[in-house]
């Protein structure tokens, strides 16, 4: 999804894919899709598809990496080579390294790491298709995978992106919007306590716009939370 000079992303109050500004895309969530993993999930927002698997808590080796009083989280966010318009070369880019770190931190506040000394909780994420908002889609998938793995969590983590196009605040940016937006703000938060565990922003926003956008994101987050709960129920009622 290229940067296009002078593109009009919103017309007559509708986005190019027909959505209203604060409407999120069609969402699909499926828990337990990887039999080998302790927990796993697929989450799709529009064309963006993330698959997450959780392995652990399991003993961390070699020993010198262990923390004596708690578990560590190891997280890798990876884009499949075929997930984008131009093929992604295998191997971690600097973007992927940074995203892996912020995703890891999005879960640190909700896990009882002190209960599992010397172990690792591995969160692996594969972006199967990328059309914007991949990191927040990943977090929704990882949240479900952790729950599926039976790793105790203080709260589920819910995530989505907000932004601004042609002066209008929007939710859930797709790839074209992401690359041509005035601002892009991914956020993750705990479903009940609304503790923000990931927040990034790129672009140009006034402080009031940030506040307004967050309010809308919390609202939409309620819906995403319900979908998470439903996906987990579907899994256990299989």
């Amino acid at each position: 999804m290229a940067k296009i000079k002078g593109i009009e992303l919103i017309k007559d109050g509708k986005r190019l894919d027909g959505r209203k500004p604060l409407q999120i895309r069609d969402v699909e969530m499926k828990v337990g899709i990887i039999p080998n993993a302790n927990g796993s999930a697929m989450v799709r927002f529009g064309k963006t598809i993330a698959v997450a698997a959780v392995y652990g808590p399991r003993l961390l080796l070699p020993k010198h990496l262990q923390e004596g009083d708690k578990a560590i989280i190891q997280c890798r966010y990876n884009m499949a080579p075929f997930s984008t318009d131009d093929r992604v070369k295998p191997g971690s880019s600097r973007r992927e390294i940074e995203i892996s770190k912020v995703i890891r931190q999005a879960f640190e506040p909700v896990l009882f790491l002190e209960n599992y000394p010397k172990t690792t909780i591995d969160i692996y994420i594969e972006i199967i298709q990328a059309d914007g908002s991949t990191r927040v889609t990943s977090i929704n998938a990882a949240s479900l995978a952790l729950a599926d793995a039976g790793v105790p969590m203080k709260d589920l983590v819910v995530a989505l992106s907000g932004g601004k196009i042609n002066g209008t605040l929007i939710l859930d940016l797709n790839g074209l919007e992401d690359n041509n937006s005035e601002a892009d703000m991914p956020m993750a938060f705990t479903a009940n306590k609304k503790e923000i565990t990931l927040l990034q922003m790129d672009g140009e926003l006034k402080q009031e716009e940030i506040k307004k956008l967050m309010t809308e994101m919390f609202k939409a987050g309620e819906e995403i939370y319900k979908m998470q709960i439903k996906a987990l129920k579907d899994r256990y009622s299989e």
Partner: protein, 253 residues
């Protein structure tokens, strides 16, 4: 070890732990074109083994000795989501072998009409990138990956190329295919020939032979693996079985 012994004991009686016959595949589930962003894609599940192959078309410079032929490159990633033993990092020896075996089956059978993929002789040709992504590993990755790759190729469209740019999402036609090789891996455990092993069956195999069979019956590639040897009779019978099973699998295309 108890589990391994149990598997072997059953095999002695021509039985398998999941009730299958020795020459029986698990259920195969195929989904086509699941990745809109890829020029072609397929997901193949064989039992719990789950593999996605995606095809990307990119502009490349041809090799000097084949200046008017497109290029084929195959890559396999054992994504760490797929098995507790798979770790992030560069491709393992096994992932490298998998990619090369799949690649050879397709390349050596002349599956793709590479000459039709030349844009400017000696300068610009289409590169066909097959990327194999393992989602869950429960054995028989070679057959699943080969099948996924073949089906993905059969559904691949060539994008428009205008003003030195690829126009993604607009297509000028399908990838020209000449042949459809089907890969079947036959394993020898004790004195039995078994197909489509699960991961725990693979842990007790003696040797395997992977055979790519073309629609005209030609064998287009073979690869032997495993820690034990095979004699000529074994090889002959394993090729026979592979050829027979390839006909069944071909119906899935």
């Amino acid at each position: 070890m108890l589990r391994a012994n149990y598997i072997l004991k059953l095999l002695e009686k021509n039985e398998r732990i999941d009730g299958r016959k020795l020459d029986e595949f698990r259920q195969i589930n195929i989904e086509k074109n699941i990745i809109e962003k890829a020029e072609g894609s397929a997901r193949v599940k064989i039992g719990k083994t789950d593999v996605i192959a995606g095809i990307k078309m990119e502009i490349e410079t041809p090799f000097p000795d084949t200046p008017n032929e497109g290029m084929l490159k195959t890559n396999a990633e054992f994504a760490p989501i797929a098995h507790p033993d798979f770790l992030p990092g560069p491709p393992s020896e096994d992932a490298t072998e998998l990619a090369r075996v799949v690649d050879r089956g397709i390349r050596e059978s002349n599956s793709i009409d590479l000459e039709k993929l030349c844009l400017v002789e000696g300068q610009k040709v289409w590169g066909v990138f097959i990327d194999i992504h393992i989602i869950n590993h429960d054995g028989n990755l070679i057959d699943a990956s080969s099948l996924a790759s073949l089906i993905a190729l059969m559904n691949t469209r060539i994008p428009k190329y205008e003003d030195e740019k690829i126009i993604r999402g607009e297509y000028i036609g399908k990838l020209p295919m000449l042949h459809t090789p089907i890969n079947v891996t036959v394993s020898k455990i004790l004195d039995k020939y078994v197909v489509d092993l699960t991961k725990e069956e693979e842990d007790v195999l003696d040797a395997w032979l992977s055979v790519a069979v073309r629609e005209d019956g030609y064998i287009c590639s073979m690869q032997k693996g495993g820690a034990k040897g095979l004699n000529v009779k074994n090889i002959d019978e394993m090729i026979n079985l592979a050829a027979k099973k390839s006909k069944e699998l071909r119906k899935l295309l």
